[in-house]
């Protein structure tokens, strides 16, 4: 089992399971309503230069998350 890392540490194309989101209640809820919640698989489609936004795929949907937000998502089991 891999260590827990922030989503932003994953490379393009890697998939991992969301463990938790480090953030306020509002943010966690907002993400959960979009399907980004613990136990869900998340795939990095692509990151951008210089800590720009991250494009991800969660439960079949493509989303763009700001870097600061992606950084708050903790994942594990990537590969």
């Amino acid at each position: 089992m891999n260590n827990q890392v922030s989503l932003t540490e994953l490379e393009d194309g890697q998939t991992a399971v969301i463990i938790t989101v480090n953030g306020g209640r509002q943010l966690i809820k907002r993400l959960a309503d979009l399907g980004i919640t613990s136990g869900t698989e998340i795939k990095i489609i692509r990151k951008t230069l210089l800590s720009g936004p991250v494009q991800v795929e969660v439960s079949g949907s493509r989303l763009v998350l700001g870097w600061g937000l992606a950084d708050k998502i903790v994942v594990e089991g990537y590969g």
């Binding site: 966690i28 959960a32 979009l34 399907g35 869900t40 951008t48 210089l50 494009q55 439960s59 998350l65």
Partner: protein, 642 residues
């Protein structure tokens, strides 16, 4: 009309689900449809006459959830609860079933009759997604109808279903949460039965546990005891789950959606990478993406200008002698002159609207429907963050290049009030097509094209700095970008034309009254002979500080109406369009800088006023005018040195 032949339906769904296409198809009314999420904010209603029934259709704002994060979400929720529509038509994107089902589950909690429309089944098929309709229908306990709204397929079945089921008592399917949550819900439901509230009891119980601000407030007013009990139960739940109770509920809902999706959806694994994915990879590429963006936007800008200058010249010739005709037919009395200024204002508005705004919108909507605008937001997010807003703000900037009015209106796509205001302020500094007419017509033509382009770079730097400053000054936390990335799809001509028509109409309706009134007022001041007094009053600023001819004082006042009037009136005053007779190169640059940044035009001011209140609108005008004059004066002195 017999009561049983009247049906009320509302359309609900997340952004990008194609809700607006359904609305357009059903009612024949025109509406925005877009690729960027949550764009429809106005209330749109329409009526459909179908098989002897009168069906009232209301389009609710596209939202992500029924928890109150934003005004739109509150509007949608309150409407459904208070107006008891016969049916809520929940339009969802078949290619993103899971995410959209979370919303559907929330709708069902409201205990309203729901018909689920699985839209974009054609795209799902292309992607190899098969959805077991019968199973989905059984699991959810509501009618499910497949559709392709952009072509109208499946929509009459939706209405047939609504007619067929109307009046039949529908039982509200309950999708239970986990054991502990259900126990809390039952306990609260017991207590809530004593309190009479116009909402379903179970729904209130759920929302209390979700710590929904509005619902908590409501219950607290009626019976504060219940809130104590809620607090106790929340604590219990948090001890069991190790999470805040509101998150536990969202999590369970999201997992339920995930479970239903797994049970009903099969995705054929296809090895081929789709065209959309390949395009996506190139257009969001770290290097190539930016190059493509510059090419696309640059090309768009040049195309609009090329077309605009041609058509504007043509229109100018066409209406060139109308004034003479007016003077000979109606006369040159005080009233006739005022009448003419009203007409002239409208004509001038159309001279901007058709040559420049119209092609601009067509191209913008092509890019939007294709899916490219979301890519621009993605590419620009980082830079926009430095200005305290996120990538979506870039869309407003691009629209602002055409005209600041729709640019400011489009700031509604930003999530928080803070973001909306900062974006709107920055948009007012984006050189619109009227300002571009001045920059290119004066500086570009007589000083050099490089100077003109330099002014654009200067504008960008200034916008960036203003963004940095205002993100510090305007209170509140910056919001991070959360945006669905749409697939690239072939734009529909009909959709683009409808959107263009709609936006053009909005522009004309907002701008026309203001432009006419202020046109008449300024003309009245002119006829009253107060202009020389005004220009000498302004001369300390115009002549001494900026080093411009005194006449520019009046020009800048006319410029508040529409910025390109500065150039038009200068030509009228000089009796020639050879501006180098009257102004030195330095004066042209100074005049252009003032014109670019001083007070936004009246139409833009009116939008700021409408959206953010008169205090903020006034503040923006004062600060920008003072800033522009200060800056241009400093620029003059710097140029004096060289």
């Amino acid at each position: 009309m017999a009561e049983e032949h009247k049906i009320n339906i509302v359309l609900a769904g997340q952004g990008n689900a194609g809700k607006s296409s359904v609305f357009n198809y059903l009612t024949g009314l025109h509406q925005h449809i877009g690729n960027w999420a949550g764009k429809t904010i106005e209330k749109r209603e329409g009526t459909l006459f179908y098989k002897g029934h009168t069906i009232d259709v209301l389009d609710l704002p596209g939202i992500y959830s029924l928890t109150t994060y934003s005004v739109e979400e509150l509007i949608a929720r309150e409407y459904i609860i208070q107006h008891h529509p016969d049916y809520v038509i929940n339009v969802i994107d078949s290619t993103n079933l899971e995410r959209h089902l979370i919303f559907t589950l929330q709708l069902l909690e409201l205990e309203c009759p729901v018909i689920l429309v699985l839209n974009m089944t054609d795209l799902a098929k292309k992607k190899g997604i098969t959805i077991d309709l019968r199973k989905l229908q059984e699991t959810l306990g509501i009618p499910v109808i497949p559709a392709v709204a952009s072509r109208g397929t499946g929509l009459s079945e939706v209405i047939d279903k609504a007619i067929e089921l109307k009046g039949k008592k529908s039982d509200h399917p309950v999708h239970p949460f986990g054991k502990e949550i259900e126990r809390c819900i039952s306990r609260l439901s017991e207590l809530l039965k004593e309190v009479s509230l116009p909402y379903p009891v179970r729904w209130i119980a759920i929302k209390l546990l979700e710590k929904d601000h509005e619902v908590v407030k409501l219950v607290k007013k009626r019976n504060p005891e219940i809130i104590h009990e809620v607090k106790r139960l929340e604590k219990e739940l948090e001890e069991i789950h190790g999470h805040d109770s509101s998150i536990v509920i969202s999590d369970e809902r999201s997992h339920l959606a995930s479970h239903i999706t797994r049970e009903t959806v099969k995705i054929a694994v296809h090895k081929e990478i789709s065209l959309s994915d390949r395009l996506d990879a190139v257009t969001t590429h770290k290097v190539a993406g930016y190059l493509i963006m510059v090419l696309i936007l640059g090309g768009m800008f040049m195309a609009v200008f090329g077309f605009g200058n041609w058509l504007s010249g043509l229109l100018g010739n066409l209406i060139g002698n109308w004034h003479a005709w007016w003077s000979t037919t109606v006369g040159v009395t005080f009233g006739a002159s005022l009448g003419w200024s009203a007409i002239e204002s409208v004509l001038a508005l159309f001279q901007i609207a058709f040559p420049y705004i119209l092609p601009f919108y067509v191209l913008l909507y092509i890019l939007e429907n294709w899916g490219y605008i979301a890519r621009i937001s993605f590419l620009m997010d980082k830079l926009m963050h430095k200005m305290g807003i996120h990538g979506k703000g870039c869309i407003s900037f691009i629209i602002g290049l055409g005209c600041n009015v729709p640019g400011c209106l489009s700031c509604r796509i930003m999530e928080s009030k803070r973001e909306r205001f900062i974006t709107a302020v920055l948009v007012t500094m984006v050189p619109c097509s009227a300002v571009s007419v001045i920059v290119f017509g004066l500086v570009g033509k007589y000083v050099g094209i490089l100077w003109a382009l330099g002014l654009y770079v200067f504008a960008m730097i200034l916008i960036f700095i203003t963004g940095k400053i205002s993100s510090k000054l305007v209170k509140g936390e910056p919001v991070e970008l959360i945006m669905p990335m749409p697939d690239y799809k072939t734009p529909h001509l009909k959709t683009i034309l409808l959107q263009t028509w709609d936006s053009l109409k909005e522009f004309v309706f907002i701008a026309a009254p203001i432009v006419i009134i202020s046109g008449v007022v300024i003309q009245a001041i002119h006829l009253a002979g107060w202009m020389p007094a005004i220009s000498s009053f302004l001369s300390p600023v115009t002549v001494q500080w900026l080093g411009l001819p005194a006449i520019t004082g009046i020009l800048l006042i006319f410029g508040i109406l529409r910025k390109e009037l500065i150039l038009v009136m200068l030509a009228a005053y000089l009796g020639t369009t050879n501006f180098s007779d009257a102004l030195t190169s330095q004066q042209m640059i100074v005049l252009a800088v003032v014109s670019m940044f001083y007070v936004p035009c009246v139409a833009t001011i009116s939008v700021l006023w409408k959206e953010y209140g008169w205090k903020k609108a006034l503040l923006v005008c004062v600060v920008e005018t003072a800033g522009a004059i200060l800056l241009a004066g400093i620029l003059k002195r710097v140029m004096d040195i060289f």
